[in-house]
């Protein structure tokens, strides 16, 4: 191995460790918020933590002390119920104070249960009604390009359940029609929605073929494999807006990933957890993280 290759490997290893640490921080922040309320969409938030760590703590161009900085990339959370994951990511990225996570969903908090632009620094849209994010992302990507700021990327995190909504596919069509190379869709495929398994509620597969037929650059990765997620994001940022093709990363994730006591539960769409289980959940998270780092 040459010195250059060794240096590159070291840099990559450090990068990976940094993002893994951020993912751990995000998961711990999610558990703290869940504990504060005793319930919530904790399963989804733990599942998407690796993707959010890679985006917020490695890829996204933003300024922690100036969330409205005009030159920033946009990250749109259309799945408002994933807000606790976003809040934990915003805390990990330094946009909001970590202690504020304790106020999650409390009266008067800046961190409501469903994520909204009007409440929280760093939240770009008011999500919650599903199928809205990708259309707004199309508008932002078109608007930034019109203003000669095509280098700024627009990310939209959407869920598999959200693929039930027709408006998502209107936007998917539009993105390739307008050749929006500055648009990136991240789809969380955790296989579960309110009424049951996505396969049973409204079949979504074959996902790669569907997005490809809509004219998108498609990658499918294990959304809990940090290396795979980072590589997929690298591909997105390396191509950037140049080829004029919108990009989707389909992320297969595991609900409640990293916390075995929660992974084993039945009703993972909306978790209700007994008070005595939260400390166990945190211990398991920390133990798993240490083991992976060693």
């Amino acid at each position: 191995m040459t010195t250059v290759e060794q240096t590159r490997t070291t840099i990559e290893r450090e990068r990976h460790a940094r993002v893994a640490e951020a993912a751990y921080e995000i998961r711990m922040g999610v558990l703290e918020q869940g504990e504060a309320q005793g319930e919530g969409y904790v399963g989804q938030a733990l599942g998407i933590a690796d993707v959010l760590a890679a985006v917020y703590c490695d890829k996204l161009r933003h300024r922690a002390d100036d969330p409205e900085w005009e030159g920033r990339d946009r990250f749109l959370l259309s799945i408002g119920h994933y807000a606790l994951a976003s809040y934990a990511a915003l805390a990990a990225a330094g946009v909001i104070p970590r202690e504020e996570l304790q106020t999650y969903a409390a009266d008067g908090s800046r961190l409501p249960m469903s994520g909204m632009k009007s409440y929280t620094p760093g939240m770009e849209i008011s999500g919650g009604s599903l199928g809205h994010g990708l259309g707004q992302a199309v508008g932002m990507a078109l608007g930034l390009r019109l203003q000669g700021r095509e280098g700024q990327l627009v990310y939209n995190l959407l869920s598999d359940g959200e693929l039930n909504e027709g408006s998502t596919w209107e936007a998917a069509m539009s993105a390739s029609h307008w050749q929006l190379g500055n648009l990136v869709a991240l789809v969380d495929l955790n296989g579960l929605q309110a009424d049951g398994r996505t396969d049973d509620v409204l079949r979504l597969e074959p996902q790669e073929e569907r997005w490809a037929s809509f004219g998108w650059d498609v990658q499918r990765v294990d959304g809990n494999d940090l290396e795979a997620v980072l590589a997929a994001l690298d591909h997105v940022t390396e191509t950037g807006a140049a080829q004029g093709v919108p990009k989707v990363i389909l992320c297969d994730t595991r609900l409640a990933k990293g916390v075995p006591v929660l992974e084993a539960k039945d009703k993972l769409h909306f978790l209700r957890v007994a008070a005595e289980e939260w400390p166990i959940a945190k211990e398991q998270l920390t133990a798993g993280h240490r083991e992976a780092q060693s």
């Binding site: 946009r74 909204m116 632009k117 009007s118 770009e124 849209i125 008011s126 919650g128 009604s129 199928g131 809205h132 990708l134 259309g135 707004q136 992302a137 199309v138 508008g139 932002m140 990507a141 078109l142 608007g143 930034l144 019109l146 203003q147 700021r149 027709g166 408006s167 209107e170 936007a171 069509m173 539009s174 029609h177």
Partner: protein
Amino acid sequence: MTATTTTADATTSAAPEAVPVKRSAAMIASIADPGVPTTSAPFGHALAALGERDQRVVGLTADLSKYTDMHVFAAAHPERYFEMGMAEQLMVGAAAGMAAVGLVPFATTYSVFATRRAYDFLCLDAAEPRLNVNIVAALPGLTTGYGPSHQATEDVAILRGMPDLTIFDPADAVDVEAIVPAAAAIEGPTYTRLLRGQVPRILDRYDYTFEVGKAKVVRPGDDAVIVSSGLMTMRALLAADTLSADHGVELSVVHCATLKPFDEATVVAQLDTDRPAFTAENHTVVGGLFETVAGALVRRGIAKQVNPIGLPDEFLDAGALPTLHDKYGLSTQSLVDRVLGALR
């Protein structure tokens, strides 16, 4: 009745008698009364002019550029024009995205699609974050004979409950031209009930200027008062001319170009008199101008009879627009008759 007799009735019933066909002009019909001058595509020209002065202005449509006068802006500023396809939810969401990065979008479609189909997107993508998204919607109320699929008889009723949305109901080309820059200057979202094509021009005969959120007494009159909006203000002014010339009746016309926020003070002051009072709207009498006025009066404890002129609470007929305006009481002659009836 048994199934057998029903079948027998159906098979033996005579074909309807042939009636002379009145040309319906299908989707697009003129709302101009005889003798009223018109301006061509006032919205499109006003938006193109605004686009000259303000580079942030962009135009979007959902496959209806020619039918909403957006084609004029498209020709003047092709780089800032976005054909979004027949996808109204996307169009409104994308307009919100554009506003979020600093642009000033105007998005057009028909009123039925903007309200019935894209409501959730206007509400959550534009209104909740208070973005400068301007929806300009053609065929408001009964302005097409095409039938309920395209007759937005309840668009104001649908939208009035949306917080932070400004709603405009222009009377003519003068209003339309003034509303375009005014809407752009409002920080939050707006909805305009567009009059398109050859649009009557009547308000410049009076001492009138459009102001956001203000009702205006366009024509004073001691014998009766009518509070109106949209094209019904044009009809009320024409009715007032006829009433004055032919019957010696002076009708006051109070025009509400902004339906929300509503200028309660001006309207209530005009109604709190002994004159017979009317509201006139190109909209169902449910949830529009009449009920807005009624609420304003009740809130102030004023017991005053107000006669609503508007569309009935039902799905309307298809047919020729003039026939339908006569049938449902929106024509100038209908207004004359209603006022005379109240004075008898």
